[in-house]
């Protein structure tokens, strides 16, 4: 809108360089996944889907895909339920205590996955819980929970608390206010938070590495494939992982936008 902006020299070139730095490595992997030869040299020899075929028929890859999906879905559901309750709980504690509680909840975000994996393993061992996909899902909940809370808080913080008072004024009890007002106004963002948990869980390697039993997940398979030899089908598998991540990202962005639009419509009208 401002003339000031259009008069500046375009920062386009500079932005292009930064983006290239970020995306070229990824582009290379995607490119190799369609390579018809098995050597990892540029330029690629020809185009083929052979590595994808290899990935989708090899039981190592397909069972890893299935395991990753199970863990990610279970983790997303548990995180969404627990996180929603915690987020609403936080809006109802006194304003003096809230920032401290928030710090406690969000601090684990800065914990390295290594650390979480290590300590959860000790924990499961201590409690004599056998390692399985379920321990992975539980561990992932610990990992994704603060992220979900961050997303949920971002919407709850912006929702006018007077909606709650308004609903009370019109006769709604605490429970009815939650089900008839707060949930309908916030669900897109809560679902977006759930999707984020799904992606984080699907991509997670380190915690999984520690707390999984005999089974395997997508990142683990990629990792062990890397260690064995350079099998080009790994590029196809990684591209699939990338695709899941990217599509989830799109869904998250759309949902978050829906939620924001609904809020804006009210405040700006």
């Amino acid at each position: 809108m401002s003339l000031l902006r259009s008069r500046r020299r375009s920062p386009g070139l500079y932005l292009a360089v930064v983006l290239a730095f970020l995306y070229l490595p990824i582009a290379v992997v995607v490119l190799f996944s369609f390579n018809s030869s098995s050597t990892l040299n540029l330029p690629i020899k020809g185009f083929s889907l052979r590595w994808y075929e290899a990935v989708l028929t090899d039981p190592t890859y397909t069972s890893a895909l299935r395991n990753s999906l199970i863990v990610a879905v279970v983790c997303a559901i548990i995180t969404t339920v627990l996180g929603t309750l915690a987020a609403f709980g936080l809006t109802h504690v006194s304003p003096r205590v809230r920032p401290w509680l928030a710090v406690l909840f969000f601090a684990p975000i800065t914990l390295p996955g290594l650390f979480l994996g290590l300590s959860l393993l000790a924990w499961f061992a201590k409690l004599d819980i056998e390692l399985s996909l379920w321990t992975v899902a539980a561990a992932h909940v610990v990992y994704t929970f603060p992220y979900f809370l961050l997303v949920a808080q971002s919407v709850l913080d912006r929702i006018d608390p007077q909606y709650d008072e308004l609903a009370a004024d019109l006769g709604a009890s605490s429970l009815l206010r939650f089900t008839r007002v707060t949930l309908p106004m916030t669900w897109p963002v809560l679902v977006a938070g759930g999707m984020l948990s799904f992606v984080l869980s699907f991509d997670e390697f380190f915690i999984t590495f520690f707390v999984i039993g005999p089974q395997s997940t997508v990142p683990l398979v990629i990792y062990s494939a890397m260690r064995r030899a350079i099998d080009p089908s790994i590029n196809a598998f990684a591209t699939l992982l990338l695709l899941v991540t990217f599509l989830s990202g799109v869904v998250i962005a759309v949902l978050a936008r829906t939620g924001r639009a609904a809020r804006k419509g009210v405040k700006a009208s």
């Binding site: 006018d160 007077q162 308004l166 019109l170 009815l176 008839r180």
Partner: protein, 352 residues
Amino acid sequence: MNTVLSLTGISKSFGKVPILHGVDLDVHEGEILSLLGPSGCGKTTILRIIGGFERPDRGRVVLAGKDITDVPPHRRPVNIVFQRYLLFPHLSVFDNVAFGLRIDKVGKRDIERRVREALELVGLEDLADRRATQLSGGQSQRISLARALVKRPQVLLLDEPLSALDQKVRISMQAELRRIHRETGTTFVYVTHDQQEAMSLSNRVVVMNAGRIEQIGTPADVYHRSATKFVSGFVGDANLVAVEALDSAGDGTEVKVVETGQRLRLRQTLPQREAVLVVRPELLRLSATGDDGLSGTISDIAFLGSAVQFHVDLDGMTLRVQEPAGAAPLTLGVGDVVRVVLPDHPVHVLTD
């Protein structure tokens, strides 16, 4: 007149900040009572105490003979219209208005009828199917009103409902509120910081300052017979002139203006030797000639449309004089020497 709502000895602090100091207030059935005052005076807190959103530290709230001090908001037969246009964004206009009735499990047919009636009352029966986010500010606020009124509250609380609207919409909504009040007969308790709004809407005005009530009276009372300096300054514009009685004869008094030393003849006797005259600018007149009134120099002129306002400097004291625009001696300019003439009826006087 029946008292429908009565507050006694209401005190409230937020943390260490005292907001209300023992407020007593009776609301009469069917009236529009305005709580008027500057921001922070506690008017909104009173409204929120009536609505049940705040609990008073001391004092009781009695509604229709029943003590409701400890009743939570969703069980009080009062409803509120907030300052912001808070419509539920996920519901249609119809569903917004029906919200309270659905909570109360009113029958489907009754809901349909009562919502239609409420929408008709606010003149928006055509918008029932719109989404709440597609309305203008004025329309949203009418829907908020319908949503509160459809529950047939014993008292309707209005918390500066017009202050977020444009000037033109605000004026037309004031007329609309007066009409809706006449048609429903509901008791309104109306909070505002806008004295023009309070005066044009209310049967009685409660002027508040710093957590206390300064005056309760009709709009004409608070405007023409202000109880305190604060009221006279907050409700409209007022010249405050401290005078000292010199000599009183018959129905008049010779006084000295304390700040300037000038002498002046009042058409009334003063209740005590020292007093403060409260003179509204539109009651004063300017005269270019004669020796009536007080002499001064015009220091500022502002055209107001229907009137012209002059600032007249009298040796360190400034009087504001408002002349009707038609009759205004527009030949006067800044720097001219004029005389300020008091009205020929008694003026309102404050004593300590």
